[in-house]
């Protein structure tokens, strides 16, 4: 009897899981940074990666590991919005995908930064009122993060985004 009961519970859980996951798979690709939590599913599919979730005090971290070795972490606040993304690994992630609607602002900023007079090969640091993007590293080892400063949940420090 107990075995049957366990079987029933397990299959119920699977049914719940399926009910939750299947609608997610059908969701369109929303923006990542600034988007809702559902957009992470799109990022995961785009990266062909595996995913795990870590709960913190006032936010949830969704971690996507791509088969290239690059890891992307998306930080979701209690209201379900992605307020930050961070990444590390041998190759840059698809910045268009993970920055979503913020990509054009990022691109304009990075391109104006690189047109200054003196040549330099140094980290990318974009610090605008509505968007911070930081990228460092070297060949086969890149790391960085992007966040929306005024959307950090209270008590969250920039250092937590990594």
């Amino acid at each position: 009897m107990s075995n049957r009961r366990a079987d029933f519970t397990t299959s119920s859980l699977w049914a719940i899981c399926a009910a939750l996951v299947i609608p997610c798979l059908a969701l369109p690709a929303h923006a990542a940074l600034g988007g809702d939590a559902a957009s992470i599913q799109a990022d995961q599919i785009h990266m062909q990666g595996s995913r795990r979730t870590i709960a913190a005090n006032s936010y949830t971290v969704h971690e996507i590991q791509a088969d290239t070795g690059t890891v992307v972490r998306e930080y979701v606040s209690a209201d379900g919005k992605v307020f930050a993304v961070a990444w590390h690994g041998p190759w840059l992630p698809d910045m268009r995908q993970i920055l979503g609607g913020y990509f054009e602002q990022y691109r304009a900023a990075v391109q104006s930064q690189s047109s200054s007079g003196r040549m330099a090969r140094r980290p990318v640091m974009i610090d605008q009122p509505g968007l911070v993007v930081q990228i460092g590293g070297h060949m086969r080892a890149f790391a960085g993060r992007a966040y929306i400063p005024d959307r950090l949940p209270s008590g969250v420090h920039v250092e937590d985004i990594q």
Partner: protein, 407 residues
């Protein structure tokens, strides 16, 4: 809302399961350090002169430049190109299409379509066809080396590419690269390595039918290669030799020496070997440990986390601007346990840059982009006054097999 609540319950469950997978760490031992290797000016068939002189545009700070000769494979149709950036932080020879006057053969994929490459650096990328050249530097020669020819126009950059999705600008012209090319003589034998062999995931290689370039995989032997690894001899690594620089100088000259322990002029001597099996080693600075640290002549400063409140420049963004020069110390440690201190100084970059004719700065540094970055980047200032050995992965040397740095 209900879906969200159920989702958050599920997330919490998953989180519980995930927590068990976290953690880890490493223990470290330490040996005594050794004094820096003395600088000797080198000569011989395995030596190429280099200069820190601003480069061919005259605006490139703390960067070393060499001359490289490329030839149509198997012929004496050759061209010497000067102003090529010496970069121990990357691997592979990249030459501006606009600087090339010899016609090199185009590499083709198995289906006959030409191969091109996109490589992202920090804040810029290089794009263009993969071609084949015999490469001569100093008295050394490598045959049929895949190189990247940098060109925005030979093949249209596809929208679906890691270059486009990086958001960076291309650095395929003299003005945007600040050099006629990049001579990548780092720890790697190829630029991508195993990650591109059976996968298009890294987004480096493309095949280009007339309909447009699409991602492709690339066998190791076809990848843009560290030309040193393909030299007939003296092929296990390089030494960058540059004199000490205090303050600011217009230019300094040094040597790029090929081979480690293969000739009378390239022995390790008193240098300490710091092995880097993961292509990184560990730097400890100001009480913090940076396990992803590296030595990179292609970085124009010492870049490390600003954990002590060093004043950062307001106009020369990305560099430090302390009111007086700071004398600092850090400790490097290899995976082999070898450990030793490095003393370095950080001067006010704005002051250093005040004379536009100066291009060699011994005390130039800046912050890493995030205070929790896992690396200390020992850029070109570290090379001034040190003979720095870079041993290529898988190559044997008297100090053991690469990859390692020694100094």
């Amino acid at each position: 809302m209900r879906n969200l609540r159920i989702l958050s319950v599920l997330m919490a469950l998953v989180a519980c399961m995930c927590l068990a997978g976290c953690g880890g760490g490493s223990s470290k031992s330490s040996n005594g350090g050794s004094p820096p290797n003395p600088i000797a000016s080198s000569s011989g068939s395995n030596v190429a002169p280099i200069a820190v002189n601003g480069g061919p545009v005259g605006n490139y700070d703390d960067a070393a430049f060499a001359s490289v000769t490329v030839c149509v494979p198997g012929t004496s149709t050759c061209q010497t190109i000067d102003g090529v950036l010496v970069d121990t932080g990357s691997s592979g020879l990249r030459i501006l299409s606009s600087a090339l006057t010899v016609a090199l053969p185009q590499q083709k994929a198995s289906d006959g379509n030409p191969v091109a490459e996109c490589l992202t650096f920090l804040g810029s990328f290089t794009w263009g066809p993969v071609q084949t050249a015999d490469v001569q530097i100093g008295g050394e020669k490598a045959s049929a080396v895949p190189i990247q020819v940098l060109s925005d126009t030979d093949f249209p950059l596809p929208d679906k590419s890691s270059c486009k999705s990086s958001g960076f600008n291309s650095a395929d012209t003299l003005q945007t690269l600040g050099a006629n090319g990049i001579l990548g003589v780092g720890l790697f034998a190829q630029d991508c390595g195993g990650g591109c062999v059976n996968s298009t995931g890294p987004g480096l290689y493309y095949k280009c039918p007339s309909s447009g370039c699409v991602p492709t995989d690339e066998a190791l032997a076809e990848q843009v290669a560290n030309p040193v690894a393909l030299f007939a001899s003296d092929n296990n690594g390089v030494i960058v030799e540059l004199p000490a620089v205090s303050g600011a100088e217009a230019s300094v000259s040094g040597s790029l020496v090929f081979g480690i322990g293969t000739q009378s002029n390239n022995g390790l001597g008193g240098a300490t070997v710091y092995t880097a099996p993961g292509f990184v080693f560990t730097t400890t600075y100001s009480g913090h440990t940076y396990p992803g640290s590296f030595v990179d002549s292609g970085s124009n400063g010492l870049f490390f986390a600003n954990t002590t409140g060093i004043v950062e420049c307001s106009t020369d963004m990305g560099f430090y601007c302390p009111s007086t020069t700071l004398n600092l110390s850090a400790t490097n440690q290899g995976a082999n346990g070898a450990s030793g201190p490095v003393n370095f100084s950080i001067a006010n970059a704005q002051t250093l840059f005040s004379n536009a004719n100066d291009h060699a700065f011994g005390d130039l540094g800046g912050p890493t982009p995030t205070s929790n970055a896992d690396y200390f980047d020992w850029g070109l200032p570290f090379f001034f006054g040190h003979n720095v050995f870079t041993a290529i992965e898988g190559k044997s040397t008297p100090g053991g097999a690469g990859p390692y740095w020694a100094y």
